[in-house]
């Protein structure tokens, strides 16, 4: 499923089981359970999915199907400062693609990858609804508006 192998500690397993219990171990709450797990662990590797599978009594294949269907869920860890570039229509027509290219160039990574030191990861998303600020870039929870390719270096410098 994934090349990353992790070992869950006992408290991690207990956490996941606890989440499942808090949703009454109801298989229909799978997506809410996955949200809680991803919020806690940052991503959803196969090992976590296996524990959820036991907790909710849903085949792990089905969980994998759900995790890979929705773009919000990820099976690989994100960087310390995840960078997301909005490629919604409003941002696109105001030059978001050029901003994305600049991030790729500066960080030397493609969309969906992390830098070697795991400091930054790059992703694109569709519309955060802040079209007045287009093009929009998110670094962690911080929003940058009206970003031009020339601003990219300065944004990255803030996280050095």
């Amino acid at each position: 499923m994934s090349h990353i192998k992790i070992e869950l500690r006992k408290e991690d397993v207990d956490f996941i089981k606890g989440v499942c219990t808090s949703f009454n171990n109801d298989p229909q709450e799978l997506i809410n359970v996955l949200h809680s797990c991803q919020e806690h662990f940052g991503y959803l590797p196969a090992e976590i999915q296996e524990v959820v599978s036991e907790g909710l009594n849903v085949p792990v294949a089905k969980i994998y199907g759900v995790v890979t269907f929705y773009s919000f869920f990820t099976m690989t860890p994100r960087g310390l400062h995840p960078i997301s570039i909005c490629l919604g229509t409003a941002c696109y027509v105001r030059g978001a693609e050029k901003v994305l290219d600049e991030f790729k160039k500066e960080l030397g990574i493609q969309v969906g990858e992390s830098t070697k030191d795991n400091k930054f990861s790059l992703s694109s998303l569709r519309c955060v609804g802040a079209c007045g600020l287009a093009p929009v870039v998110l670094v962690g929870d911080k929003t940058y508006g009206r970003v031009a390719p020339d601003d990219v270096k300065n944004i990255l410098r803030e996280y050095e």
């Binding site: 949200h35 759900v66 929705y70 773009s71 027509v93 519309c127 955060v128 802040a130 079209c131």
Partner: protein, 597 residues
């Protein structure tokens, strides 16, 4: 609210929030406290005013002064000048783009003049985290009226008579939908609010949820009473953290006040609302896909019938409406069907919220009566095209809609006229394009979106859209042939006819409308290998301007494919057959000697 003589309303919508409106609120409160005015002037973080272009916004009431692009450090000036000395801070006022004169009162701003706010009636007026302010503006009065004075059939008749059609895209009659759900007998039914606003460029649902969450809760309870449901579910995008937080607060407050829960208003009616989170799948805006997603499954649509009104969430009758549809319901109940149906056109009643974005001066959220023309929306409310460029088109309905052009500008906007013009209402996103936008690239962009968001269940959408995207890609790279245009058209028509759900059936719309309206541009790409808008990189030609070139060799040294020739101190030349259009030479040249044709 009476003890305060003045209110400072600060926009707390996502756009302004991102631009530090929180810090503005803090600074204003600190300033007022320092001046001993915190008992007479109240600072309120409200929902979106709609004028996102000039955010963050601070509005002073009761005099309606509208300050734009306020920075946290402006708090002191606003308090000292406006509040204490009674002088408006001219530098922060909105300036009319034509006369350059400052406009003090928001009522006189072009942006607000033609608007009529029903769904957005409370956005920007109340503190969305305070239920009392909602109640003060007739909040929950409609629920009270329905529960104490009306039978469920009377409510449904009223909603039907109002002529309201669903604001999510398809435009199905709201009252009829409710009636179908009511007719199906079951021990349990569900009321669902579709808040999975996936259409890029649309942010009206988010603004309503952030600015007026109680209106949605109230309308869902009214719907629950009408169809006989006691459970409500809001399916909301996980990408909208602020809206989720405000909804949670609102649900908690409504429960405390006994406006949700058991025995509401002592009438024996029970209604509860829970939140369900989306996880980033555009197709989940389709109601059957949405229901599957709420059940913890992949959000794949299923064939209708059965409609959700017969068999929806957990196999029970379910009514799904969009956020904006619900937002108008309390107003319709209180003011009556005749009032609502007096607004709008013959077949599209009421108002519609549009999200204006793209190459337009006033990016923002507007609400206008149905039947307003595109010209009024784009040039009067929207303030025209940015940087004095020429209007080229407007994409309505997002990736499912089409592009309307100059010739459609005077068409009154309603559900049927937009379809007749080759587009659709969709959720109400309007992306304005100017002369710099390449229409072939735009069509390719929308197809890229559809390809990424297709759930993969049916072949026409999964495979057909991929092929459309490839053909458009080839045209953008100058590798297209004229017969591709017929292939694009035929394939689009087949996908429309055969795809399983609304996503696939509408996905070729951008291609068809771009082909209809901008055929010349496609031909320019194919026959002349030129992109008239200068957007398609493969079709650009980098040329040395002999007048500026000093022969420094900087460009030749940076060229990764050795496409530039020329001796030192001689004019250089770019061989376009070798050139890969990376643009490195142009970036390197200090003498502006390289340009793109």
């Amino acid at each position: 609210m009476s003890k305060y003589s003045m209110h400072l309303l600060v926009c707390g919508g996502t756009g302004c929030h991102a631009a530090e409106s929180d810090a503005i609120v803090c600074n204003l409160r600190d300033e007022l406290e320092a001046k001993g005015l915190n008992e007479t002037v109240q600072v309120i973080l409200t929902g979106c005013f709609g004028f996102c272009e000039k955010g963050p916004i601070v509005k002073v009431m009761p005099d309606n002064t509208f300050y734009v692009q306020v920075k946290p450090e402006d708090a002191q000036t606003i308090v000292e000048e406006h509040i204490i000395k009674g002088r408006k801070v001219t530098s922060l006022l909105y300036r009319d783009p034509k006369t350059k004169e400052p406009v003090a009162d928001s009522k006189h701003m072009g942006f607000f003049k033609k608007q009529m706010r029903i769904a957005l009636r409370n956005c920007g007026f109340i503190n969305p985290e305070n239920i009392d302010e909602y109640i003060a503006r007739d909040g929950y009065a409609a629920l009270g009226k329905v529960l104490s004075e009306m039978t469920p059939d009377e409510v449904i008749k009223l909603v039907k008579d109002s002529g309201q059609r669903g604001r999510g895209g398809a435009g199905f009659s709201t009252g009829l939908k409710w009636e179908l759900a009511r007719r199906n007998v079951s021990d349990e039914k569900y009321v669902v609010c579709n808040a999975d606003e996936g259409d890029p460029g649309a942010f009206m649902d988010r603004s309503v949820l952030e600015g007026d969450p109680h209106s949605i809760l109230e309308a869902m309870a009214i719907c629950g009473y009408s169809i006989g449901a006691s459970n409500g579910l809001i399916y909301i995008r996980a990408e909208y953290p602020l809206a989720i937080q405000r909804l949670k607060t609102a649900i908690k407050q409504a429960k405390e006040y006994g406006l949700l829960g058991n025995d509401i208003f002592g009438t024996g009616f029970n209604f509860d609302i829970t939140l369900k989170y989306g996880a980033g799948a555009f197709v989940c805006g389709e109601e059957t896909a949405l229901i599957h997603s709420m059940e913890g499954l992949r959000g794949e649509p299923t064939l209708k019938p059965p409609f959700p009104a017969e068999s929806g969430y957990r196999g029970k009758p379910t009514n799904v409406n969009n956020v904006e549809t619900y937002a108008s319901i309390p107003a319709i109940i209180l003011k009556g069907a005749a009032w609502f149906s007096s607004i709008g056109t013959e077949k599209s009643k009421g108002t519609k919220v549009f999200a204006l974005a793209g190459k337009i001066n006033n990016v923002g959220l507007i609400e206008v009566p149905m039947g307003t023309t595109l010209r009024e929306v784009i040039f009067e409310i929207g303030g025209g095209i940015r940087n004095g460029k020429k209007f080229k088109g407007v994409q309505t309905g997002g990736p499912s809609g089409g592009c309307l052009t100059e010739k459609h500008l005077d068409t009154p906007i309603d559900f049927d006229n937009l379809i007749a013009a080759g587009s659709m209402m969709g959720s109400g996103a309007m992306i304005v394009l100017d002369e710099d936008d390449c229409m072939v690239s735009m069509a390719k962009y929308f197809l890229e979106f559809t390809v990424e968001e297709s759930c993969g269940k049916c072949a026409p959408c999964r495979i057909g859209n991929k092929r459309l995207h490839e053909l458009l890609g080839q045209i953008c790279e100058g590798k297209g042939v004229l017969s591709d245009l017929d292939r694009l058209k035929n394939m689009s028509l087949v996908i429309k006819d055969t795809a399983l759900c609304g996503l696939g059936q509408t996905s070729p719309n951008p291609v068809l409308s771009m082909l209809d309206n901008f055929r010349d541009e496609f031909i320019a790409h194919i026959t002349h290998k030129k992109c008239p808008a200068g957007q398609c990189r493969s079709l650009l030609e980098y040329i040395v301007n002999a007048e500026n070139c000093v022969g420094c060799t900087a460009c030749a040294r940076v060229c990764p494919v050795n496409a530039i020739s020329g001796m030192r101190k001689e004019i250089h030349k770019i061989d376009s057959a070798i050139c890969i259009k990376c643009g490195a030479c142009m970036e390197k040249c200090k003498f502006d000697a390289i340009y793109i044709s």
